[in-house]
């Protein structure tokens, strides 16, 4: 056996003999642990969208197009939440073509339909001050699978592009002890 080979095997033997002795003090301490069951944690969603019909299925994650709208005619649309989280507020932006302006935007209470111009099936219509292209925040609670019916009247013949959004910062904070 060559000298280098002997040195190699001697080194291996030395490590094998000495290593356990050196590490034994570190592993001698006893530890105790307790492991919980798996705790399922899930996050919800808040998904507000607009549509021309009342449905809780979002037809498209795109702006709602209404029009062409005749001047002074009323047009109805729906703001709906098909997520799993309630939101205390949501945002509406209405952009108009042909330099039209907004005559009025109104909404009924949650889940209530308009039955005539400015008339809700129950309760009274609430006016929402709006300017074309400017975000308006509607501070009304919208729970999952609920909707608001909105009425839009424009000054001139136009096409409306309607965006609805929610910032998660609008959800506020809450603490639950359970």
């Amino acid at each position: 056996m060559r000298k280098s080979t002997r040195v190699f095997f001697t080194s291996i033997l030395g490590v094998a003999l000495v290593a356990p002795i050196q590490t034994s003090p570190a592993v001698a301490a006893i530890t105790a642990a307790t492991v919980s069951p798996a705790l399922s944690v899930g996050t919800g969603t808040v998904q507000v969208f607009g549509s021309s019909t009342q449905t809780f299925t979002n037809p498209s994650p795109a702006p709602l197009l209404l029009g062409p709208l005749e001047n002074k005619d009323r047009s109805l649309f729906y703001a709906q939440n098909n997520g799993t989280i309630s939101t205390p507020a949501f945002n509406v932006t209405i952009s108009l073509t042909d330099s039209s302006t907004i005559t009025s935007v109104k909404r009924c209470d949650v889940g209530v339909l308009f039955i005539a111009a400015g008339v809700c099936a129950s309760g009274s219509a609430t006016a929402i001050p709006m300017t074309p292209g400017v975000v308006a925040t509607i501070s009304s609670l919208m729970a999952p699978n609920t909707f608001y019916n909105l009425e839009l009247i424009t000054e001139k013949k136009t096409t409306a592009t309607i965006d609805l959004s929610v910032l998660t910062s609008q959800l506020g904070t809450r603490t639950i002890n359970s």
């Binding site: 105790a32 492991v35 399922s40 996050t43 969603t45 989280i85 959004s165 998660t168 904070t173 639950i176």
Partner: protein, 222 residues
């Protein structure tokens, strides 16, 4: 052996051999005689007839959900529908149920899957642990003394066990409040479409591991 047979030379050699044999035998015998004296020396021993019991201590750690009505969820009841900005407080009693004091308590967290909840140190879940000297009320109020056990740590960071500030004497029970927060990272949900990398609509299963080590060894004169 017949030493009378043979020539003088042979007799002379045999005589020497005989002498060597005799001397060697005497030496061995003498040595044996001397050695045997060691074993023949008198010995005495004393053995205790009472006491002398030696027992080792135990190191145990147990966790259980609070038994206070309304806050018994512990690490068992699922948490669903968390929204950004939500904090869910869970209440657990952690007991050093062995007979040995302990040191270096830690809390580690492991989540299933690789969701943002546990893989993102900023947008993911954050955990704070507090202790109350008495049981927490179901409104999350400590009527005794509240102490910080672990300042805010992300679930990501807790993949490596984090040190806890706890009393670990044998038999001591800690009333822990585990605050699980989903930070309010601002997301804009436009026209019902969740943004890329959203924190919404995710699920993970968290396993919580409390650990402690035995106290350091001591030398006692008694």
């Amino acid at each position: 052996m017949n030493i009378t047979i043979g020539n003088a030379l042979t007799r002379g050699a045999g005589s020497v051999a005989l002498k060597v044999l005799i001397v060697a035998t005497a030496a061995i015998g003498g040595t044996a005689l001397v050695s045997s004296s060691v074993f023949t020396a008198l010995t005495a021993s004393a053995t205790n007839t009472t006491g002398g019991s030696v027992t080792s201590g135990t190191l145990k750690l147990e966790q259980a959900a609070s038994t206070v009505t309304g806050i018994t969820g512990g690490f068992v009841t699922a948490i669903a529908g968390m929204a950004p900005g939500d904090t869910i407080n869970r209440y657990v009693t952690l007991t050093n149920s062995g007979t040995l004091d302990a040191i270096t308590p830690t809390l580690g967290l492991a989540g299933t899957g690789s969701t943002t909840l546990t893989s993102d140190g900023t947008k993911g879940l954050q955990v704070v642990v507090n202790n109350c000297s008495v049981a927490w009320t179901n409104a999350g109020v400590c009527s005794g003394t509240t102490t910080a056990v672990m300042t805010s740590k992300s679930a990501l960071a807790m993949a490596t066990p984090q040190a806890l500030t706890l009393t670990n004497t044998a038999g001591f029970a800690s009333n822990l409040q585990i605050a699980i927060t989903l930070p309010n990272a601002t997301e804009n949900v436009l026209n019902g479409a969740l943004p890329a990398g959203t924190i919404q609509g995710l699920t993970t299963a968290l396993t919580w591991t409390f650990s402690q080590s035995q106290r350091t060894g001591i030398t006692t004169n008694s």
